[in-house]
């Protein structure tokens, strides 16, 4: 039986690992930012402060708790104490970012105002970039260098196409031309692509007009799901067979006499012909309602009237209460 729990544990562990990989913080982007906020987006206290928008480009939920926002990456990968201008994103329900969602952080150097208020203000910074760093403090998830003039302009800067960047260039510390730019409209907590929006339907019709792509993907997913169940059932089969063999072997080893008896018992289990015939006849009689025991008897004889307490009137009468 222990082996069954071993397999269950393996499957659960596999799920946990898959879920962990599914929630990859690599998919996060610093999608849009504003430093000189005069009369635009206000925080929950009605203040106009610098802000940055994080975008989850993935199609799954990503937990951003523990990641760092900063305007000074000098402490990156050094370990040890957390540098002063690093803001550790605290635990909060909203930190589980759903697929393709946006989250705003205020860069107002007021962390006591709540979990969405960072401990630095880029307007007072020596650098002109904002970075997002992984929870272990070693990986640069995204960094956006903004023009210095952004501090004096009431405009937003960010990805022209939501979170789309060239991964190769990013690894080399470069950016493709036109990837980041001033944005035409300020769009906190929503898409930067403000042009003509195409519906999911139209996009599907445009990209896959005959539905062949979707059919292939869908059939692949159906097969994957059922193949996973197939593998699980194969494991069931294997474990059951092994458990049966093991228990049989143990029984035989402990009590050979018992094993012999059980073997004899197995032989006795085989049903012979006459028994089959008897069972078959009984079933036939039963289903054909030809059973020989009737619940009632039909007779021409006068039935004798037996005594019955049901007929005794005094038993049905209410008794006097006891004193």
């Amino acid at each position: 039986m222990k082996s069954i729990y071993k397999y269950i544990f393996t499957v659960v562990a596999l799920f946990a690992v898959t879920a962990t990989f599914g929630q990859s913080v690599d998919d996060l982007r610093l999608n849009e930012m504003m430093i000189k906020n005069v009369d635009n987006y206000a925080d929950e206290y009605g203040r106009h402060v610098p802000w940055v928008e994080i975008f989850n480009t993935a199609y799954n939920t990503v937990n951003i708790t523990g990641c760092y926002l900063t305007d000074d990456t000098t402490g990156l990968a050094k370990g040890g104490e957390i540098p002063t201008r690093w803001y550790r994103i605290p635990t909060d329900q909203k930190m589980y970012m759903p697929q393709r969602s946006f989250l705003i952080f205020y860069l107002d150097n007021s962390p006591l105002y709540g979990p969405y208020h960072a401990n630095f203000n880029p307007a007072e910074s020596k650098t002109h970039y904002i970075a997002l760093i992984s929870a272990n403090g070693k990986e640069l998830l995204d960094i956006v260098e903004y023009p210095v003039e952004l501090r004096d302009t009431a405009r937003t800067f960010g990805y022209v196409k939501d979170g789309v960047r060239d991964p190769k260039a990013f690894k080399q510390g470069k950016r493709e031309a036109g990837e980041l730019d001033y944005l035409g409209e300020f769009t906190p907590a929503s898409s930067n692509e403000t042009g003509e929006k195409i519906s999911k339907q139209d996009k599907l019709k445009r990209d896959d007009p005959y539905g062949i792509g979707m059919a292939i993907i869908s059939m692949a997913v159906v097969f994957t799901a059922l193949i996973m169940i197939y593998i699980m059932l194969k494991i069931f089969n294997y474990v059951t067979r092994r458990a049966t063999q093991k228990s049989k072997a143990q029984e035989q080893a402990v009590t050979p006499a018992k094993a012999m008896a059980s073997k004899a018992g197995e032989e006795d289990d085989t049903v012979d012909g006459p028994t089959c015939a008897a069972i078959g006849t009984a079933l036939h009689l039963h289903f054909g309602s030809m059973h020989d025991e009737e619940s009632e008897v039909i007779t021409i004889n006068m039935p004798s009237k037996h005594y019955s307490p049901w007929a005794q009137k005094e038993l049905t009468m209410k008794r006097n209460p006891r004193r």
Binding site: I8, L204, G211, V221, Y230, F236
Partner: protein
């Protein structure tokens, strides 16, 4: 006085069914469904409520009386709410789960792949519907008819194409009822006499522990992959756990008995009533029926052909009789019964029913997964 009587009579006539009747109301096919259910006994539990619903839905009346299924405040409208919001189908899946024995599948796991192959009918119909100028959402709703699963068809169409739900539901249930008519010719066409005689190895006994673990593991595997199928898959496996756990017999009995009966009555009646002539009698409805038949044919053919292909890799008594390939569609247990009947035509001692139940219940899982994928793409 005479004028008052005349006016009163005319007013009464204008409220009556006679005054509002059109040819559309007369030619609706409720009586045909009832006749098929009672005389031919084709899925009577579904066709009789749907047929009667069609009659109810096509009694002509003046708008504003709050009696029609589409009128706010009408009793039928309240009952129809479960269809529109899609909460009847998961309840039916709960009952199906509590009725289904997955032993055949657990003992011979490779049969599950037939249930996957048969889902091709859904996507073949989707592609064809797109070619016929339906929108992707409508095409998805039409395609699901190929899953041969009424509750799933209603669930998906209520989300993707509510205006077509009546036609899709009636089409799905009609073809499910006609499984014994549609499938055998395709099965005979695609198999050789030798293949029809293949005898399959008897399934092994399945332990109680396996039966209990099966729904729990399945829900984890499938719902993680396709969370959009959760309402159907979750209820299906929950119902099965109630049945197999052995400690919730009362709940399992309620789910597989009174609950599923009540929901079947409500869903059948209201879906039937939703086929009002004014909404139903359109060229699109005819196309839906044609596409539904097409998807059924493709689903059956895919299942049978997949078994033939699969047999190329199997040896000896591991080979599968291709006559159980049709059971990959999820019309439980009718499709499996068709396999049995067809198999016995060629060898009276070859009982394929339990073997066919494997792909049949796999088809239920497969169609729910396919429904989830359609929702994630199109909704």
């Amino acid at each position: 006085m005479l004028e008052f009587f005349k006016e009163g009579l005319l007013q009464f006539l204008s409220y009556s069914g006679f005054g509002n009747c059109t040819w559309g109301h007369i030619i609706m096919i409720g009586l045909v469904f009832i006749a098929l259910g009672i005389i031919k006994e084709y899925e009577p539990l579904l066709l009789v409520p749907i047929g009667f619903g069609i009659i109810i839905g096509n009694i002509p009346f003046t708008d504003g009386l709050q009696v029609g299924v589409y009128e706010n405040g009408a009793v039928l409208n309240y009952l129809y709410f479960g269809v529109v919001k899609g909460f009847y189908p998961p309840l039916i899946f709960l009952g199906i789960g509590a009725m289904t024995d997955f032993s055949a599948l657990i003992s011979n796991p490779k049969l599950i792949l037939i249930g996957a192959a048969a889902q091709f009918g859904i996507f073949a119909a989707y592609i064809t519907a797109l070619l016929l100028d339906f929108t992707p959402m409508e095409a998805g709703a039409i395609g699901i008819i190929g899953g041969a699963d009424g509750p799933t068809a209603i669930f998906i169409s209520s989300k993707l194409a509510p205006s077509m739900m009546g036609a899709i539901a009636v089409s799905a249930y009609s073809y499910m009822a006609l499984v014994p008519v549609i499938q055998p010719p395709i099965m005979r066409l695609l198999t050789t006499p030798q293949e029809r005689l293949i005898r399959m190895r008897p399934p092994r006994a399945v332990s109680h522990r396996e039966k209990v673990l099966f729904p729990m593991m399945c829900i984890l595997l499938t719902a993680f992959l396709v969370p959009t199928g959760l309402p159907l898959l979750g209820m299906l496996f929950f119902g099965n756990l109630l049945k197999e756990s052995g400690v919730t017999k009362r709940l399992a009995n309620t789910a597989s008995g009174p609950l599923v009966d009540i929901v079947t009555i409500l869903i059948g009646l209201t879906v039937g009533a939703s086929t009002q002539a004014t909404n139903f009698l359109r060229p699109a409805s005819v196309l839906i029926f044609v596409l539904g038949a097409f998807s059924f044919v493709i689903a059956t053919a895919s299942g049978v052909l997949f078994v033939k292909f699969f047999n190329l890799f199997l040896k000896g008594d591991n080979k599968i009789n291709p006559l159980i390939g049709n059971a990959g569609v999820s019309a439980v247990p009718d499709a499996a019964r068709v396999s049995l009947v067809e198999g016995q035509k060629y060898d009276r001692t070859n009982f394929l029913l339990m073997h066919a139940m494997g792909p049949n219940v796999a088809g239920v899982i497969g169609s729910a997964v396919a429904a989830g994928i359609l929702l994630s793409f199109l909704y």
